[in-house]
């Protein structure tokens, strides 16, 4: 076998229109071989359309899909080096588990003993050895999804497409299956492209995440990148529990490594220039700041005000106990609400009284700058 290029999937200016409606607009990215790549975004954002375009179930209106460097635009799904796991209803109900998994191998006219060996190995991998004779309706939702996975993996395609494969499972099962998917991908070493709207699922499994919304690629990066260093305001709003503060740029430091100052109307805060790097702002521009709720803190009265930390006045509203964490809600002078999240501990000090004037603060590098 000849060496394959490192890029498994390359999507170049891909668009899909349904009449006047643009389901996908000029999306471009590439995925390296062996990566677990997640398409994350709100429902109706175009993730599944993108996945189906890669799989060949629909034709693009514009743009190209290259799989291992080969333009597959005119090839139907059965001729692409991909296989797909669907959200639900995709097992063949009139075939047993064994026949479902063996279906693709039979189409390839593989010898029966070899099919038997491969099916057994794959059912072992997904933890369903002994279930060969069961019919799909005799399996739980999680087991059905594992059969789908086995049916796709047994084909040894280079690229596995997963369209919200865990969406129909309950929360506990979804969590377990998430890790299993990741471990299976590490074992088989092929490229996985996984569509989900669940950010926890995405963070658990992804090597890289692409945020898709309104038919566009919003941002792409590692799980840590998009969570800790979101470049776009949409990402900050969608991923994690971010607080958004709105203001205008009041000053930009001339010296390298200086700070951008943002006037919030009731306070002026500074943002590290390194955070604003790549963001083209000028004095007077309307901008947003995002700060994750776990990085915001209630500043004790008389707490030190220094250049390393930004603080703003607020009114304490209430405490919300969430189990692992406790959220403290405060209102800023402009009426917007901010959440301050803490790990719940038995010895937590009593929170301020509702209505009490407080200050909240964050370390300067914790805030991200976004152009409106």
């Amino acid at each position: 076998m000849s060496a394959q290029p490192d890029t498994a999937v390359e999507v170049d200016g891909l668009s899909k229109n349904y009449g006047p409606v643009a389901a996908l607009s000029s999306v471009s990215f590439s995925i390296e071989s062996g990566q677990y790549f997640v398409l994350l975004g709100p429902s109706g954002g175009g993730k599944t359309t993108l996945l189906r375009l890669i799989g060949g179930f629909i034709r693009p209106s514009r743009g190209r899909v290259l799989l291992h460097g080969r333009d597959v635009g005119d090839e139907p799904p059965n001729r692409r080096p991909t296989s797909m796991v669907f959200q639900s209803y995709a097992l063949f109900p009139h075939m047993s588990v064994e026949r479902n998994v063996a279906y693709g191998l039979k189409l390839r006219k593989m010898a029966a003993p070899e099919i038997g060996r491969r099916v057994a190995r794959m059912l072992e991998l997904v933890g369903l050895a002994g279930y060969e004779a069961r019919m799909p309706h005799e399996l739980s939702g999680g087991q059905q999804q594992r059969v789908q996975l086995a049916r796709s993996l047994v084909l040894e395609s280079d690229i596995l497409l997963l369209d919200e494969p865990l969406a129909s499972l309950d929360a506990k099962l979804r969590k377990d299956m998430c890790l299993e998917l990741k471990h299976i991908q590490e074992k088989v070493g092929i490229t996985f492209i996984h569509v989900t709207h669940n950010q926890e699922e995405a963070m658990t499994i992804a090597d890289r995440i692409a945020i898709i919304a309104d038919g566009r690629l919003v941002e792409e990066g590692t799980a840590r990148d998009v969570y800790e260093r979101p470049r776009r305001r949409f990402t900050a709003e969608f991923i994690g529990d971010n607080n958004l503060l709105h203001g205008t740029v009041s000053a930009i430091a001339a010296e390298p490594g200086g700070r951008v100052k943002v006037d919030l109307g009731y306070a002026e805060v500074a943002v590290d220039a390194t955070v604003a790097e790549g963001t083209d702002v000028a004095a007077g521009d309307a901008v947003s700041l995002s700060v994750r709720s776990e990085l915001v803190e209630l500043v004790a009265p008389g707490g030190a005000e220094d250049g390393a930390r930004q603080t703003v006045p607020a009114t304490y509203l209430e405490e919300v106990y969430l189990g692992l964490t406790t959220s403290h809600l405060v209102r800023l002078p402009d009426g917007s609400e901010v959440a301050v999240r803490r790990i719940s501990e038995g010895g937590d000090a009593a929170p301020p009284a509702p209505g009490q004037e407080v200050r909240i603060g964050w370390k300067t590098p914790s805030a991200r700058l976004h152009v409106e």
Binding site: F57, N78, S83, Q87, F92, L173
Partner: protein, 296 residues
């Protein structure tokens, strides 16, 4: 379906009502069959069981010929109307214009049989005339007899009559089919035809076979369209109707009606029994296997 709060009496009355209605509707059919086995026919004071009238019918060359024509017509209608119904049902599932498809497919049901038959008769006559003119003008003699009344024109009438039923019966079965399964098959490497044949067809097979049975029964049931469009042959129903109109119901007529009723009930009954037995067997197997399944 019963629940714990259903009254026993009410439940029994519903079943009695249902069976009463079905019995009342089928009583005349069974009565005709009963008479067809009486040596002395309808109205006789004594009843002597015989199958002689059936022997007479099956020994009558004209009747046997009409039976053969009906079978040919039914088979040709099955071979044409059922695939067309299947394709239309598949189109319905895919298209956005569902109302338009349903309206087009069911429209022939709303045209009375006499009107439809006479319209087709006029249409074929004119079409034949046009083809003759073209044939004469071009010197192509082979164009001149395309639409003369005969088996083909009767078949067109039969297709128009049976296609809506085939479409509806298949569509009902197809409504439970999830198109993701076709995509899953394609994703496993199947061509479009393989995906249909291996995955979709086994799940809609019951509907397709029911449509075949329906078209056969309708072909035996149809008299008006074939009477006007058939040309030089007779179908079983045509002979039966013409006998009744000309000489009234004879012992042979009862036997002919008996053949048709017994044939139709055998076909429908077999399908029903097969379906019930199969579903019972599958449920039993599922229960037996399902016991040890552990949720994960």
């Amino acid at each position: 379906m019963r629940d714990d709060y259903t009254s026993e009496l009410g439940h029994g009355l519903k079943w009695a009502y249902l069976l009463g209605i079905v019995g009342a509707l089928l009583a005349p059919v069974f009565y005709v069959i009963y008479i067809s086995f009486n040596e002395f026919g309808f109205g006789a004071r004594i009843y002597v069981f015989t199958v002689d009238w059936y022997r007479v019918v099956l020994g009558d060359k004209m009747l046997v010929a009409s039976l053969e024509w009906t079978i040919y017509l039914a088979l040709a209608a099955v071979a044409t109307a059922v695939p067309m119904g299947l394709l239309s049902a598949k189109l319905y599932k895919k298209t956005r214009y569902k109302v338009a498809i349903v309206t087009l497919m069911l429209a022939p049901l709303f045209v009375p049989a006499d009107i439809m038959a006479s319209s087709l008769l006029v249409f074929f006559r004119h079409l034949n005339g046009i083809f003759e003119l073209i044939g004469e003008a071009l010197g192509w003699a082979w164009l001149t007899h395309w639409f003369e009344l005969g088996f083909f024109t009767a078949l067109v009438g039969q297709i128009l009559y049976t296609l809506p039923y085939a479409f509806v019966v298949i569509l009902i079965t197809m409504s439970r089919y999830h198109p993701q399964q076709t995509e899953a098959a394609r994703s496993c490497g199947a061509t479009a035809w393989q995906a249909f044949w291996h995955v979709e067809f086994p799940q809609i097979r019951a509907g397709v076979f029911s449509a075949c049975a329906f078209v056969v029964i309708l072909s035996f049931n149809e008299a008006t369209r074939t009477a006007l469009l058939k040309g030089g042959f007779d179908t079983f129903s045509n002979v039966l109707v013409s006998q009744m109109l000309n000489v009234g119901m004879s012992e042979e007529s009862y036997a002919m009606a008996g053949i048709m009723s017994i044939g139709a009930m055998t076909v429908i009954g077999s399908i029903l029994i097969y379906t019930l037995v199969r579903s019972e067997r599958l449920e039993r197997e599922a229960r037996a296997k399902a016991e040890p399944v552990m949720s994960t």
